[in-house]
């Protein structure tokens, strides 16, 4: 029965809520560990590592096959491949970086978008069901890559000092206010960007997966271990689980889009001419 005094709806078996520990998958195969920087590092291959490689292979194989037999009247596969390429090229490349020099960056943006998209959708694909990007290390790599690229592009075009001036001095600002603005702009444009870029993707995938675990485990617990009065709530939890899983598909797409969109924005900001 429901204990009104304590507000508890559970029977007496304990329920352990899901937490970050659920994302620590053990290494597959032989593993040894070593100590470095005061942390224990395990040697071995984990599921996210396999998924990263699998995503790369899948994206390459799909677009290789889709682009192999090009014809004026496209086959269905070729049509899908071209639509995907056109989406990234036009809405992420041309519209944001500008028609003058966007083609240089289309291969990078295109690869990045589909790589992240497939990795995110791994959270939904049956039998895999683990978002690769919910391991923060995977995302840091991508964020560092994009940080290096947009800074390198800017420095190459404007020179080191010119680039720093472009990124830190807002146009039309003069006088002592610059003492305040330059450190602030430096922080926001150079230092904080890779962190927010990485954290956004990582935390979205992490929180989404955690939410799904919570609904699945909580529903199971209410249904099997709860009192008869709360059993229906377990079914509601599972229905919500299904609905949230569909919402997650949308979020996974959106986060891949946002990651590449911000990459394109940063590149276009680094390429911008001085006003």
């Amino acid at each position: 029965m429901i204990n009104v005094a304590t507000g508890r709806l559970r029977a007496d078996e304990t329920f352990t809520p899901p937490g970050p520990a659920d994302f620590d998958l053990p290494p597959i195969g032989a593993s040894s560990s070593f100590e470095m920087f005061g942390q224990t590092f395990a040697l071995g291959v984990t599921k996210p590592m396999i998924q990263v490689v699998l995503a790369g292979v899948l994206v390459f194989a799909f677009f290789y096959v889709a682009a192999k037999q090009r014809s004026m009247v496209p086959s269905r596969l070729q049509y899908v491949g071209e639509a995907g390429y056109g989406f990234v090229r036009n809405s992420l490349g041309r519209d944001i970086i500008g028609s003058h020099d966007f083609m240089r960056f289309v291969p990078y943006l295109f690869t990045l978008f589909f790589f992240i998209l497939v990795n995110n959708w791994f959270a939904t694909i049956p039998f895999i069901q683990f978002p690769t990007m919910s391991r923060s290390g995977m995302v840091y790599g991508l964020a560092i890559l994009s940080w290096v690229i947009y800074n390198a592009v800017g420095i190459r075009k404007h020179g080191f000092l010119g680039y720093l001036k472009l990124q830190t001095v807002p146009s039309g600002m003069k006088g002592p206010i610059l003492l305040l603005l330059i450190p602030l702009e430096f922080m926001s444009n150079i230092l904080v960007r890779p962190f927010t870029l990485a954290l956004r993707l990582f935390a979205n995938m992490f929180a989404g997966h955690l939410l799904l675990i919570l609904f699945a485990l909580g529903g199971e617990y209410l249904l099997l271990h709860g009192d008869w009065l709360v059993k229906p709530v377990g079914i509601v939890a599972w229905l919500l689980f299904i609905m949230i899983a569909f919402l997650e598909v949308l979020i996974q797409f959106l986060q891949a889009y946002v990651f590449v969109l911000l990459n394109a924005m940063y590149i276009s900001g680094a390429l911008a001419d001085e006003h």
């Binding site: 005094a5 304590t6 507000g7 508890r8 809520p17 970050p20 809405s91 519209d95 944001i96 927010t196 954290l199 956004r200 935390a203 979205n204 992490f206 929180a207 959106l254 889009y257 946002v258 969109l261 911000l262 924005m265």
Partner: protein
């Protein structure tokens, strides 16, 4: 002990902190919808701006959830 609630107070703090970005994201999409309703042909242009604004407002919530797990 009877009637105790276990868990981290961080999560309540994160819940409060998520109100701000929630309101912000709502305002951004409200403006986007009314913009498209007034001028449907501007949708493609507004969409990019709306999603960018959404991503920037959401970053606050994301920083919140990261700190909720990290701080102890």
């Amino acid at each position: 002990m009877e009637g105790t609630i276990n868990g981290s107070l961080n999560m309540i703090g994160y819940g409060l902190a998520a109100i701000g970005p929630g309101v912000g994201v709502g305002l951004i999409f409200a403006a986007y919808i009314s913009g498209v309703a007034r001028q449907p042909e501007a949708q493609a242009r507004l969409q990019t701006i709306a999603i960018l604004g959404f991503a920037l407002a959401e970053a606050l919530a994301i920083i919140g959830i990261a700190l909720a797990f990290v701080l102890s």
